[in-house]
Symmetry: C2
Subunit: 330 residues, 2 copies
């Protein structure tokens, strides 16, 4: 039997956590032959609910799940982990300014970054799901690096939900199935400023701009639909996206640990080294591939036309503003 | 590409439905090469929330999910389906007698049985999850058979949750992993009277009664722990089991469509033909195997000792009482 992969999940008793844990335990992320151990992390008031979640995990009798730890001590929670899925964050409340939100969450992610640096396994990788995820990731990465050199290429922010939302909208517009849509990169921040790059995307191997003749729709309607999709779901369900966010987290990790299909790429927020003239040092979503499921690289040479460049700059500006608001924590 | 399997799910916007749909769409039930279409059924007041669930399913861009229908019209909902997962039911409220509960749910399941008979595909199979699931299944089966001859061996009630709960408890007591526990049959009703047959169960190939020396625990503590597990989860989470119930539904269908491991069996409520001297005509959980993932049979020859027989009779008595309470609908 293979050595288990140990995965920490914060916000484990929350709605996204609840939708995520059972799928990790079932083998949906690391495959049907890979045992997993779960370190579930919650704040103290949620520990009773988390106990119920652990009971339900027990009650699934998952053959691949070797151990479940539940804790509100982040040092214990991040002990020996190979993956950290940082799902928990404080949601924006009415009357809260973005600076307030960044400040509150920033402190959480400083603490988590430090605890990861002190406790995680040598090969730890970190995916931030809790919003604002790009800047939360940046904060955690900086906090960790003051303690231990975890390379910048091990830190990720989630834009797979935007990618899937964009693919679904393009498929619906083109009247085809979603598995025909490929090469869709989300650039920038996981926020309404993200840019779903339809110029480089393909449907059935052809450029989207050929498959969908209504370019005004692509430029003026498609992007706001994707950008505001989260709000549309809250309006319908009365609750924010949970299962689809959990699925996006699963897809992010799965795509990072599985060789990418030839000719395709996927979107994930990574530390910018300046590719595509993006400001260095931001966590910025880019087109990424992995050949071996271990190391990854940014796909080079995509055309960024004038329309796209403007969009890349807008989302970059937002990330720079966010970075400035938390500069005391970096 | 294979023809999609069309699956109807009632109560699709409820908590179990929400935990179930995304896993079906991901391939967890019918495998990674089998496309699925989902017919999601809800009552009218839940249609807006269901629309949000459909949006989230879209936003997962599942490659295997070919179509999603959402409806509150059960005739449309059961049209051409190959599987019906009847998850929705009215929960028992404070002050409600069992007869009231059976009466309210009975009417729902009469309507659903009739709609299945009128609309479903030739090969339809039905799994009832909504409680009281054994008797709800009996009612739906009888209602359907007044319209069309759907064979009795296509109707199932869910006891996989009890089976998994029992396996988890045995593994914990024996200090081993849950995948070492096999041959565990749940007999009878999905209710606290169910009998988790530890006499025939094995741990690492050895009888449980050898692996666990504390027979008083097996006889006096183990069964109540499993029987009252649902209440313990509600106490901890503040919500009833959803993800584990959804997983049990997944496991029931998956085990029915996948050849059973040599020497093992699994538990599911089926129409009693009198095996093990169980009253004919009840939906009673039995040890079942399938060799080809299509037809199934009851495993014969298990020893039923005096202790076990008493337990089988208690749960049978409860099912006979339930049947009597709904006899006007049969």
């Amino acid at each position: 039997m293979k050595k288990p992969i140990r995965v920490a999940v914060t916000g484990a008793a929350g709605n996204i956590g609840y939708a995520l844990l059972f799928r990790i335990a079932s083998g949906a992320v690391f495959g049907p032959d890979q045992p997993v151990a779960l370190n579930l992390i919650e704040i103290e008031p949620a520990m009773k609910a988390l106990k119920g979640v652990v009971m339900e995990l027990d009650d699934c009798a998952f053959p691949l799940l070797t151990e479940v730890k539940a804790t509100c001590d982040i040092n214990e929670g991040f002990k020996d982990i190979n993956w950290a899925l940082l799902v928990g964050s404080v949601p924006r409340k009415a009357g809260m300014e973005r600076a307030d939100l960044l400040g509150i969450n920033g402190k959480i992610f400083v603490g988590q970054g430090e605890a990861i640096a002190r406790n995680a396994a040598e090969d730890v990788r970190v995916l931030v799901v809790g919003n604002p995820c790009n800047t939360n990731c940046l904060i955690a990465m900086h906090a960790a690096r003051k303690i231990r050199d975890i390379p910048t290429n091990r830190w990720f922010a989630m834009t797979q939900l935007d990618e899937a939302r964009a693919k679904a909208q393009l498929a619906q517009k083109a009247g085809t199935s979603v598995n025909k849509v490929s090469n869709l990169v989300i650039w920038g921040n996981h926020s309404p400023t993200m840019y779903a790059d339809f110029y480089n995307a393909k449907i059935d191997g052809k450029p989207v701009t050929q498959a969908i003749s209504d370019h005004e729709w692509l430029k003026k309607e498609f992007l706001p639909i994707v950008g505001k999709r989260g709000a549309a779901i809250i309006e319908a369900r009365g609750l924010s996206s949970a299962a689809s966010a959990a699925h996006a987290a699963i897809e992010t990790v799965r795509k990072l640990v599985t060789p990418t299909v030839k000719g395709d790429w996927f979107s994930v927020g990574v530390f910018s080294e300046g590719d595509y003239n993006v400001e260095k040092g931001l966590i910025y979503s880019m087109p990424v591939r992995t050949e071996d499921g271990k190391s990854w690289s940014i796909v080079q040479g995509l055309e960024v036309n004038e329309f796209s460049r403007e969009k890349l700059n807008i989302t970059q500006k937002e990330l720079m503003d966010e970075r400035d608001l938390v500069k005391g924590m970096l």
